[in-house]
Symmetry: C2
Subunit: 351 residues, 2 copies
DNA sequence: GTGAAAGCGCTAACAA
DNA sequence: TTGTTAGCGCTTTCAC
C-alpha cells in the first residue's frame, strides 16, 4: 500500500485511525502521500481483522423506490429495525429480475444481515439466487409468495380485498364495474385480476369482456388510460365504477375525469388500492382498499430480525394480512336505478 | 468453522460455492451440518480473498425516505448510476445526526464506494464524520452546503426561487403573502425564510411579523396548520397568498382550504416547492417552484461517479441549480383591487 | 515513536 | 475426490 511511498506500514494504519502515537511530522507526510495516491482503505479488510460486529443492518429490495407503497413500507421497516439497532438500506430493482439478483448478491458480499424482498417477478421466474440464499442461511422475507421454493412470506390477501370492493360496489347499485389493472407480470396484478374475475363468477352481475383494462401502476398511466377510456366512453354506460390497481393510478384517473368534466362519484365511482397517506387528502378523498403499510413494514422487519437473531433455524412462516375497504368520497350509494340515472346524468353533463 | 462438525475445510468451501468436485454423499452431510449450525459465511472474507471488484455501488443518504423529494432524486441517481454499472443503496436518517454518522460509517466499512448526502443538519453541526471521509478519500457529494469544511456540493438556489415566487405574487396584485416554513434546523427551511424576508426588504410591500408560519415539511403539517390558520382567519385579509415549504405541505393546505370552503386561487393563492410529479395532477393543479429532481439526481450521481473513477483527487466542485416558477391553477392574476375583492369574496363565501 | 509479524475467514492452487 | 497451505489488506501486539 502507501508504505512504500513514505515510511513504514503499521504507522500508516495508526495515522488513518487517528491514533495519538504518531509524531506530527510523520503524520503529515503520510497524510500527504495518502492524498497523492488517492488511497482508499478497504473496509472489508478492516472489519474482517477487527472482528467488529460491523454495523448491524438489513436490506429492503423494492420494485420502484419512488412509489408511495415502497416508501410507506420502508418507513415501517426502518422504525422497527432502528429500535433493534439495525440500519436499513433500500435498493430498487425497477422490476428487473437480474437487478434483483445483483442486489441480493451484493448484500451477501457486503455482510448485510438479512433482506426483505418485494420480488421482481416476471414470466420466467428465476429463483436460483433465492436458493443460494437458503444454502447460506441468509435470512430473508418475501412480500409476495414465490412458487417453487419454501420461503418466509408476508403478503396481503388480494383476493379478499378485491372481492370486498366489488361486493360493495354491487351493493351500491353498480352494474358496470371495470378494473384498471397494473403492470403485466407482476404477481399483484395477476392476483387482483383473477380475484376480480372470480367475484363476478360468483355473483349475479355479469363481467364483460372489456372490463379489465390494462393500465400500469403509475400516476401517469392512470391519467393516460383514464383520458383514453373515458373521452370516448359511451355516456349511456354511466354510472360506472373503476377499481384501480393502486392509489396513484386512481389519482391519475381522478385527474383525467376532472378534466373531462365527469362527476365523481355519481357518474364514475373510483376505488384505489393501498391507502397511501395522500388518499385521505386528495379532493375528493379516495375510497380505497388497504392495510396499514407502516404496520406491514414493521411486521416484515420483525419477522426478519427474529430470523437473524435466532441461532436455530426457524420454521418457515407464511403470514397473510387482511385489507379493509376504506370508504371516502369517490364512491357512494346510487340513489336511483341505473336506468333513470342515465338520462339524468347525461342531461347534467350537457347542461 | 463447520469443518470440525463433519469433515475437512476446503471441501466445505466447495460445497458452498456449488463446485461440482464434491461427492453427493459428502455434500449432503456438509449441507446438513451447515444448516444445523445455522452457519452464515462471511461475505467480507469472501470478497477480500477473491479480490473481486465486488459489486460497484454508491449510497444515497436522505432525510426522509418517504418524502417525494427523496424518491424523485433517488430515481435520477439510480438511473445514472445503473448506466455506469453501480447499484444504489438508499438510507434514511430521519434528520437525526448520529444516524447520519452511523450510516456513513457503515458505508465505509461495507465498501460502498461513494455517497450522496442530504445532510441532517441541526444546530450543533457535527462534521467529524465528514472529516473522516476526507481523510479516507471517500468520495461524497452533499446536496446542501455545509459550513466548516470544503466539500462537493450540488444544491438549489433557494433565494432566487423564493424571490421569483414572491415577485410573481406581488405582480399578481397580492399584498398579503405568508410563508409556511419547514422543519426548524433544516438548512432549506432557514434559507427559504431568509430569502422570504430579504425579498420584502427590497420591495414596496411590507412584511408583517406573523408572515412566517412555522409549519413542518409533511402533508399532515400542511393540513393541520392550514386548518388552524384559516379557520380563524380574518376574511378581511383576503385575498392572501401562501408560499409553502414544499409541495406536500401545499397539498395539505389545499385539502384544508377545500374543507373550509375557501376558494383557491381567488381567496387564497398557494405556491408549492419542488414540483413533484403529483403537483401537475392535483386538483387544482399546483403552482410551484422547482427544478427537475430527476435531473438533479442524475447530476449528483455524475459528480460522484466522476470522483470515484478518477485516480487523481479532483478539485472541489460547488454547483447551484436554478429553480423555475411553474404556473398552474393555484395562483392567478387578481382582477380587482384588494379593497373591492374583500366584499366580493365574502359574499361569495356566504352565498 | 516506529517496524515486524501474526492472523481475521475465506478461496484457490496444488498435493495427496 | 479430498485435505493442506498460502495469502487477500488490514489491525494489533510486541520488540526495538
Amino acid at each position: 500500500v502507501a508504505k512504500k511511498a513514505g515510511v513504514s506500514i503499521g504507522t500508516v494504519s495508526n495515522v488513518i485511525n487517528g491514533r495519538p502515537t504518531v509524531s506530527d511530522q510523520i503524520r503529515d507526510r503520510v497524510l500527504k502521500i495518502i492524498r497523492e495516491l488517492n488511497f482508499r482503505p478497504q473496509g472489508h479488510a478492516q472489519t474482517l481483522r477487527q472482528q467488529q460486529v460491523s454495523h448491524k443492518c438489513i436490506g429492503f429490495i423494492v420494485r420502484k423506490i419512488d412509489h408511495p407503497w415502497s416508501s410507506a413500507i420502508s418507513t415501517g421497516v426502518k422504525h422497527y429495525a432502528n429500535q433493534k439497532g439495525y440500519l436499513v438500506y433500500v435498493a430498487s430493482t425497477e422490476s428487473k429480475h437480474n437487478s434483483e439478483q445483483e442486489i441480493v448478491q451484493s448484500f451477501v458480499s457486503k455482510q448485510v444481515q438479512g433482506a426483505i424482498i418485494a420480488p421482481a417477478l416476471d414470466d420466467t421466474v428465476e429463483i436460483d439466487h433465492l436458493f443460494r440464499l437458503k444454502i447460506n442461511n441468509f435470512p430473508f422475507v418475501m412480500l409476495e409468495d414465490v412458487h417453487g421454493i419454501q420461503v418466509n412470506v408476508l403478503s396481503i390477501d388480494n383476493t379478499e380485498a378485491i372481492s370486498s370492493a366489488v361486493k360493495y360496489l354491487i351493493k351500491c347499485g353498480h352494474t358496470n364495474i371495470i378494473h384498471f389493472a397494473g403492470t403485466a407480470n407482476e404477481s399483484h396484478t395477476i392476483e387482483r385480476i383473477n380475484a376480480f374475475r372470480q367475484v363476478f363468477s360468483e355473483s349475479a352481475v355479469k363481467l364483460r369482456k372489456d372490463s379489465i383494462v390494462s393500465c400500469g401502476g403509475e400516476l401517469k398511466d392512470g391519467y393516460r388510460v383514464g383520458i383514453d377510456y373515458f373521452s370516448n366512453a359511451d355516456k349511456n354506460k354511466f354510472p360506472m365504477a373503476v377499481i384501480c390497481f393502486n392509489d396513484v393510478v386512481a389519482f391519475g384517473l381522478l385527474s383525467a375525469l376532472k378534466e373531462l368534466d365527469i362527476n365523481v362519484p355519481n357518474q364514475v365511482a373510483v376505488i384505489g388500492f393501498d391507502d397511501i397517506e395522500m388518499a385521505k387528502y386528495w379532493t375528493p378523498s379516495l375510497t380505497t382498499i388497504g392495510t396499514s403499510l407502516f404496520d406491514m413494514g414493521e411486521k416484515a422487519a420483525e419477522m426478519l430480525i427474529n430470523i437473524i437473531e435466532s441461532d436455530k433455524i426457524l420454521p418457515i412462516q407464511k403470514i397473510t394480512l387482511h385489507a379493509d375497504l376504506i370508504l371516502r368520497k369517490t364512491t357512494c350509494k346510487l340513489k336511483r336505478t341505473p336506468g333513470s340515472m342515465i338520462k339524468n346524468f347525461h342531461k347534467q353533463a350537457v347542461g
